[in-house]
Each structure stands twice: as C-alpha cells, then as structure tokens.
C-alpha cells in the first residue's frame, strides 16, 4: 500500500501528472470572485467562508477522474486487482495520494487566499482546520465516485454529477464552522459533524469503492 501511495505521488509530480492544477484552479476562482461581486469589503467578508469552501471543493473535483482512469487504461488496475494487496487497500492508498497532492496543498494555500476575500481574522484558524478535516472526505468520496465511473467513456462528467451531491454535507458543515469561527461563535457542533463525516467516509467507502471496481473490471 505504501508502495502504491508513493508511486502515485511520484506520478503526480512528474511531467503531466497534474500536480498543482487544482491549486491553480483554486487560486483563479478566489481571484475571480472579487471581480464578480465587486470590491465591497463587507460583502466579501460575509461570503468568504462559503466561496473558499466551494472553491476548494471544485478544485478537488478536477483531478478525481484520474484516480483510477489512468490505471484502468494502461492495464495496471487489472494487475493491481490480481496483486496480493486487497482492492480496499488500493482504494485507500490512491485516495490518500489524491489527498496529499490536492487536499493538502489546498489546505495550506487557503489562508493566503482568505486574505483576497477579506476573511475575518478569527476565521483563518478555522478555515485551515476545517479544510484539513474535510478534504480527506472529499478525496475518499471522490475515489468512490471514480471507482463507479471507471471505464466509462466521458466518465468525468458523470463523476461530477455523482460526487457533487455527496459533497454537500462536508460543504455545509465545513463552511458553517468557518462562518461561526469568523464571527467568534461556538463551532463545536459543525466541527464534530465534519470530522464524523470524514471518519465515516474513510472507514466505509473503501469497501464500497472496491466493490464498484470489482464490478467494473469484469
């Protein structure tokens, strides 16, 4: 599993691996929003938590279809399915690699981009914390969606349609925590729910994704 994880990381940073694309997308979205809604500081401050979370979520979505599709196309997935590591482990390793190349950079970059949206000073800690807690769920749910659509022509579009509704709870509790944090309100409940969703996704979805892969490989 560690080998697969490190191979995926290495592939992501090599030429054509797509590392940084999600980050650049996130940057562009957050830069575009002030152009769209105007430079009013109060408006920007009010929408900052939501925009940052939606931006991170869409950036995460960009690279999802690569999780299994490339391995499916070059035959590696067949060989991995017959290798001595369980398919559940393959899913987990690949989701983890996706998180490290997408979710983690987004989490680290988000405070800087919060500045562009005039996020309230108390909000930065919560923004980083919720993204760190929530993006693993985005990668894991995305891996499940990618497993469902692997092998389909134009599966990427269908993948977005399948995965975005599943992202809703993470988005709601993530953005809500940041909003409350920015207004110095109590954040415990949404934060715990966010953590619960992530833990639940990481615990259960590898099995669902592996089952979907087995069916798609037939």
């Amino acid at each position: 599993m560690i080998r697969l994880f490190s191979r995926d990381l290495r592939l992501a940073v090599r030429a054509g691996g797509g590392f940084g694309l999600g980050l650049a997308f996130f940057l562009i979205v957050t830069v575009l929003v002030p152009f769209g809604v105007g430079p009013d500081n109060a408006t920007l401050r009010a929408i900052a938590p939501g925009i940052l979370w939606v931006g991170a979520l869409l950036a995460c979505l960009l690279s999802l279809d690569r999780i299994f599709q490339l391995d499916f196309e070059d035959g590696s997935l067949d060989l991995l399915a017959t290798a001595p590591i369980p398919l559940e482990g393959v899913v987990l390793a690949k989701a983890a690699a996706h998180w490290v190349t997408t979710g983690l950079p987004l989490t680290l970059a988000a405070p800087v981009l919060g500045l562009l949206l005039n996020l309230a000073p108390q909000g930065y800690v919560w923004l980083t914390l919720t993204l760190a807690l929530g993006t693993p769920a985005l990668s894991m749910i995305g891996a499940f969606g990618a497993a469902l659509t692997v092998g389909l022509k134009r599966g990427g579009l269908l993948l977005s349609l399948l995965v975005l509704p599943l992202y809703v709870p993470t988005l709601i509790f993530g953005a809500e925590t940041v909003r409350r944090g920015a207004q110095a309100l109590d954040t415990e409940t949404p934060l715990l729910l966010l953590a619960g969703i992530t833990l639940g996704a990481v615990a259960l979805l590898p099995f669902a994704a592996a089952a979907a892969l087995r069916i798609n490989l037939r």
């Binding site: 080998r3 697969l4 191979r7 290495r10 592939l11 090599r14 030429a15 054509g16 691996g17 391995d71 070059d74 035959g75 590696s76 067949d78 060989l79 991995l80 399915a81 017959t82 290798a83 001595p84 590591i85 490989l217 037939r218």
Partner: protein
C-alpha cells in the same frame, strides 16, 4: 496439481462464451490455449485470474498462486523501467529485480522512461514483471505480441526456467514458442448460443 478447472463456464458482456471447460495443470507443465479470435481465451484467462466470477464450475488453485499477464502491460509511462519493475516487485514483496532484468535483457534500458520504449521493449518489461511476482502459475494472454524472434526466444527460455523450477504456465497464443507443451483447443468448449435471446436483443440494438 497447481491449477485445476472443473466444468467452468464463463461469459463476456453477459453472453456465455465458453462452457464445460475442464483441465488440470501440473507443476512444470505448460498449457497452450489455442483457438480462433473471439472464442473466449481472454475471458477464460480473466476468469481464472479472478477478475470475473465464473458462470458455473470451479477453479481450484492455492490462494495467490496465479500471476496474470494481460494484453496491456500496466506500465507507467512517466516512470523509468527500473521504477516500474521495482514498484511491482514491492507490491509482491520481492526485493531483487536483477534476475528479471537479465532474463528479458532490459538491463541497458533501466534508466529510460517507459514512454520512450518501443512496443517490443515495453512488452519485455511487462513480461519481466512476471518474474518479480514470485507466483507459481503464470496465466498469460498473447505474451508474444510485438516481440521479435530473439525476444520470443528469451520469453520461451524464461517460461522454461520457470517450469523447471516447479512453476506452471497457461498461455493463450497463436505462435509456436518452441516449448514442450500440451495444447488445449478452446473452440471445443464453445457455449451453445441462446439463439432466441440473441435475436431478441438484436431487435433493440
């Protein structure tokens, strides 16, 4: 017996293609699967490799006994030859990739990116993967596609050495490998086509 198949039936795309396939493979034996295109050799191999469930019948083999070699080599084009092989060696828990390099004569290529290899060189690298799996039964699907004569000889020698060491191989191929091998003509097991159903489906296709 390292692998025995009893009354196996398998399907491709929902249609049964083979039925009542039975054979056994002893250690040191090579079994060549013959038959025209589309008869179901790949489907049979995928079923035996465990990638798809059989419609009926039974496959007896030790767990983790079968190394499957498909049409596609499963290479990552942005990784070097050595990195590709090391990855598979790691997955199968084998550290030493030098014998695999030697067997398929890819040592001189080891620092090259897989995307810069020729088709035959890629195939050799894909076949070298079998040696690092350390598994006793090789189930290979057209392993000699795009190989030149010398490479086919390398491959035959590798299969020979594998069998001499107690392994076995099940190979779907159309060419003569020059190995002492039993042949199994898969077309004898062609599934009776459910005529009525096919016509019914065709009306909607």
């Amino acid at each position: 017996m390292v692998l025995s198949v009893h009354d196996l039936a398998c399907a491709r795309g929902g249609l049964p293609v083979l039925q009542a396939v039975s054979f056994a493979l002893a250690p040191g034996e090579v079994l060549l699967l013959r038959g025209p295109n589309g008869i179901g050799k790949t489907t049979l191999l995928r079923t035996i490799a465990g990638l798809q469930p059989p419609l009926a019948g039974r496959i007896d083999a030790a767990p983790d006994a079968i190394a499957y070699g498909a049409h596609a080599d499963g290479l990552k084009s942005q990784l070097t030859v050595a990195e590709n092989l090391e990855f598979w060696a790691g997955i199968y828990g084998n550290g030493d990739i030098a014998p695999a390099f030697a067997a398929f004569d890819i040592g001189p290529l080891k620092d090259r990116l897989a995307q810069n290899l020729s088709a035959g060189q890629k195939r050799r690298l894909g076949l070298a993967r079998l040696l690092v799996t350390g598994r006793p039964v090789w189930a290979l699907d057209e392993p000699t596609v795009s190989l030149d004569k010398a490479s086919v000889a390398l491959f035959a020698a590798a299969v020979g050495a594998h069998c001499a060491a107690g392994g076995a191989a099940l190979i779907a191929t159309h060419i003569d490998l020059g190995l002492k091998a039993r042949e199994l003509d898969v077309s004898a097991f062609r599934a009776a086509a459910p005529k009525g159903e096919a016509a019914f489906d065709e009306a909607f296709l």
